[in-house]
């Protein structure tokens, strides 16, 4: 898979590599700069592994001031910069270019302050997502956004991509849970946005920066909201004869005024692969499966799951299983949480991340099946049903080059379908390089120009995370004019 074009590296910069590495070592110390080829190779790709580029150099600063020194130097010398958390991006968001310095934040991972009275934590952004929750677990608090990669991914990457997770239906995504950032602009200036209080004075710069895919600056510290955990959480399983019935059941639950903490959907192929791998005890004869989780006291959860069971009845569920114990809860989630790994064991796959209005689920799944049929490929669908985030996993064999190409093309068609259905290209993985050239499916030139003007405000030379988000041929003079 390699349809997305990457620009030719700047030969003059590449030719100066040794000098640049020397300069960087002088700026932040030799131990924090990786110049050798083997060392750099560890940073040549992210979780979109089809694309690889050796970076010019890698720096691992230990402080905001070191990040500032590196950026000021790169700015003066017109060297591109790619910020990197843990490299778990599924859209190529952390892919380097040969003429860019990778700034990894992995060494900056401390918890600086936990304030249970004001319910905030101040952390360095190289901390893993789960690391924040681990730091406050003893007091029954947690950090709400929970992307599937939470064991590995950093808060830095979550800020870049505005990451969500299975529980964002109730708790929101990254932008709803970050109150403040310390950030270094491309020219090395350090700014502080927000803080331990709610809502910004002036324009909502936090809102602009979160989800800007590392193109507006490099965050180094964050103040995040921490929440007291519910008394308990309990899932149930519902199996249906059709995806439409499952979708209608979700509508009915929300229509009845219930917002479960998670509503996950799997179609038949996904159920079968996950069951074979995880032995979760999923019903194998159904076409669609819902995992619905509620929170509260034992009695509250029992009541709520009983109400949901009643609501589901008109949709003729073929299987109903309410967890009766922690072991059963774990089993119900085990299959779903193992889904990506399980499918990865039987096949290579291309994971899409479109979003659709829930009411369109049935017709979109039929259309996706047609697209993949035509491409001669199989597909399994996983869906965060509560918020419309659809992950079709298109299966292919990487050893057959035409299959990979067909998968990528089918994926693009699926995303165009999502936009046509009233949805969008990406719900949580970001645009990166992967969906860069599809941006015109969702936005017209004026929409894109306005976004690019914001890019120019923060990074007038367009040095940060190059060749991502915007189509390469789209950089109109209007977008680049000095703001």
């Amino acid at each position: 898979m390699s349809h997305v074009a990457l620009p030719e590296p700047d030969a003059a910069i590449v030719a100066r590599r040794d000098t640049i590495v020397e300069d960087l070592r002088r700026l932040i110390g030799p131990a924090a700069v990786i110049g050798d080829e083997d060392g750099r190779r560890a940073y040549e790709t992210d979780a979109l592994t089809a694309y690889r580029r050796m970076p010019l150099a890698v720096v691992l600063p230990g402080s905001t001031e070191e990040v500032s020194r590196v950026l000021a130097y790169c700015h003066q010398n017109n060297i591109k910069v790619v910020a990197r958390g843990a490299g778990t991006s599924l859209s190529g968001g952390a892919l380097p270019t040969e003429d860019a310095v990778v700034v990894g934040v992995s060494r900056m991972s401390r918890v600086l302050e936990v304030d249970y009275v004001n319910r905030i934590a101040r952390v360095e952004v190289g901390i893993t997502n789960l690391g924040i929750s681990e730091a406050v677990k003893a007091r029954d608090f947690f950090y709400a956004p929970d992307p599937s990669s939470q064991l590995a991914c950093t808060l830095a990457g979550n800020i870049g991509m505005n990451s969500g997770g299975a529980h964002c239906l109730k708790y929101g995504v990254t932008t709803n849970n970050v109150l403040g950032l310390k950030m270094v602009l491309m020219d090395g200036e350090i700014v502080e946005i927000g803080g331990a209080h709610l809502d910004s004075p002036g324009y909502d710069l936090l809102g602009l920066v979160i989800g800007s895919e590392g193109q507006l600056g490099i965050a180094t510290e964050a103040t995040v909201r921490i929440l007291r955990a519910a008394e308990g959480a309990r899932p149930m399983l519902l199996g249906f004869d059709s995806s439409e019935a499952a979708g209608q059941c979700v509508s009915a639950i929300i229509g009845a005024g219930i917002i479960p903490v998670a509503i996950e959907f799997m179609d038949r192929p996904a159920i079968h692969v996950c069951e074979a791998f995880a032995k979760a005890g999923y019903p194998m004869e159904v076409e669609a499966l819902l995992i619905i989780e509620v929170e509260g006291s034992n009695e509250e959860m029992t009541d709520l799951l009983a109400v949901i069971t009643e609501i589901a009845k008109p949709f003729a569920p073929k299987a109903i299983r309410v967890s009766q114990s922690a072991e059963q809860s774990a089993a119900i989630w085990k299959g779903r949480k193992a889904a990506f790994g399980a499918i990865g064991r039987i096949s290579d796959y291309y994971c899409m991340d479109g979003v659709i209005p829930l009411g369109k689920l049935g017709e979109v799944l039929v259309a996706i099946a047609h697209i993949c049929d035509r491409a001669g490929l199989r597909v399994a669908n996983i869906f965060h049903a509560g918020d419309g985030n659809l992950h079709p996993l298109i299966l292919y064999d990487a050893n057959k080059p035409d299959e990979a190409d067909r998968a990528e093309k089918a994926g693009a068609e699926v995303l165009e379908l999502c936009v046509a259905a009233g949805g969008c290209l990406t719900g949580e993985h970001g645009v990166g390089i992967e969906k860069r050239d599809l941006m015109r499916v969702q936005f017209n030139e004026t929409d894109l120009t306005l976004q690019m003007r914001i890019k120019t405000v923060f990074d007038p030379k367009w040095l940060l995370n190059p060749a991502k988000v915007f189509p390469l041929d789209g950089r109109t003079a209007a977008a680049l004019e000095a703001a």
Binding site: G172, P201, D204, L450, I454
Partner: protein
């Protein structure tokens, strides 16, 4: 000569703004005008109102999403939601009556442009957290969109949130799409009386740290209590601390009980039933306790535990009375200061404790003379000016409303 323009569609709006930019004509952007007294007074040549752009364009209760044209009255939005058992989660507050205006004049886009949330903000977020998509016209007269109608969307930069809280200085919104939520089946309130501010905020923070999903946490000083419309509460004549629980009826009963038990060390705890709870939180949404006065009024956001410190520091400089929302983190404070509405002292206090302060009510000459919005540090000020220029290079939209120089 001042003209009033009321476009009937996006295209007309675009024509007007393109011409205004070409002729460098400054324009006041209005929805229903319910917040027109907030900000620095402006010297503009025309008004553009969104009131000609009306109507709910999409409502899918089962997907918890609604779209409406910018000038749709907020009242109409809330009625449509209530008819399907839903609501806006963040309890938008009403400012008009603070300046002697009438209730229910606000529009849906004005609500997002001001980004002012009520009591439920501590649990569910502000208007900006619920804004999913915007269509609008920037100062150049370009029609643009950002976001969409689905709950999760990270496609491109998040310009929607950039527009929330921009007070009409970046663009004229033409249509907004937002998340809505089911209204709770039941509501109950726990009341503690006579607590000093510091202890009261300790109670509020302790309640927020429980798993019972407290959705309102306020404290009213005695002079503020004396202005409550709710007679029974007003008659208490002492400081009032209130916590709200919303959920299904059975859960409300269970959680109120647990919370009472958790807080019993702080003194006697009284209950308000559903009807009285709705009345009490309803009047707070209208800022009943801050009406009927023309004393300068500040809205200060700070970490909750800093709230009482901010209030006592201000009280050392000037006579004042305070209403704490958001578990103590949002302070509405009326001050009796004859010169600058207390701006210099209040800014100094904020610099010590963190947060930001906005002067919500003051005479126009005061609002011309002092910074109404929190002054920004140099780096943020520079970004702010450039963002303004990216949307509105000629500086025609609400010029000077937020900051004197742009």
């Amino acid at each position: 000569m001042l003209t009033n323009i009321r476009p009937v569609d996006e295209r007309e709006c675009a024509r007007v703004l393109a011409e205004a930019t070409a002729t460098h004509t400054p324009i006041t952007v209005l929805g229903g005008g319910s917040k027109q007294h907030v900000g620095r007074p402006m010297n503009t040549a025309a008004n553009i109102s969104t009131k000609g752009l009306r109507g709910v364009t999409l409502y899918e209760p089962s997907e918890m999403v609604m779209s409406a044209r910018a000038g749709t009255p907020l009242e109409q939005i809330e009625d449509a939601l209530a008819a399907r058992g839903q609501m806006l989660a963040f309890e938008p507050i009403e400012l008009a009556m603070l300046n002697g205006g009438e209730a229910n004049q606000g529009t849906v886009a004005g609500m997002f442009a001001a980004n002012l949330a009520g009591a439920r903000r501590i649990r569910v977020g502000a208007p900006r957290d619920h804004l999913l998509g915007v269509r609008g016209v920037n100062g150049r007269g370009e029609i643009f969109k950002s976001g969409g109608r689905v709950m999760k969307n990270v496609t491109g930069y998040d310009l929607c949130r950039g527009l929330a809280g921009s007070w009409g200085t970046l663009a004229v919104m033409s249509e907004v799409t937002f998340k809505v939520v089911p209204a709770p089946e039941d509501t109950a309130t726990l009341i503690l009386l006579g607590l000093p501010d510091e202890i009261a905020v300790e109670v509020l923070c302790a309640a927020m740290a429980t798993p019972y999903e407290v959705s309102g946490a306020v404290h009213l000083q005695p002079q503020i209590v004396a202005r409550l419309w709710h007679e029974g509460l007003r008659r208490q004549g002492q400081a009032l601390t209130a916590l709200r629980i919303e959920n299904f009826a059975k859960s409300v009963a269970y959680r109120s009980g647990k919370l009472k038990d958790h807080l019993k060390a702080y003194g006697e705890i009284h209950d308000l039933d559903r009807e009285n709870s709705l009345a009490f939180w309803g009047e707070l949404r209208q800022l009943s306790v801050l009406q009927g006065s023309d004393a300068p009024l500040w809205r200060i956001s700070t970490p909750p535990s800093a709230g009482p410190k901010v209030v006592s520091a201000i009280a050392a400089y000037m006579e004042s009375r305070a209403f704490y929302d958001w578990s103590g983190g949002l302070v509405w404070i009326e001050v009796l200061s004859t010169t600058d509405a207390g701006a210099a002292d209040i800014r100094r206090v904020i610099a010590t404790h963190g947060g930001h302060a906005t002067l919500i009510r003051a005479e126009p000459q005061v609002r011309s003379a002092v910074e109404v919005f929190q002054p920004l540090e140099a780096g943020l000020q520079k970004l702010t000016r450039k963002i303004k220029a990216a949307f509105d290079p000629a500086g025609i939209l609400n010029p000077g409303r937020m900051y004197a120089n742009h």
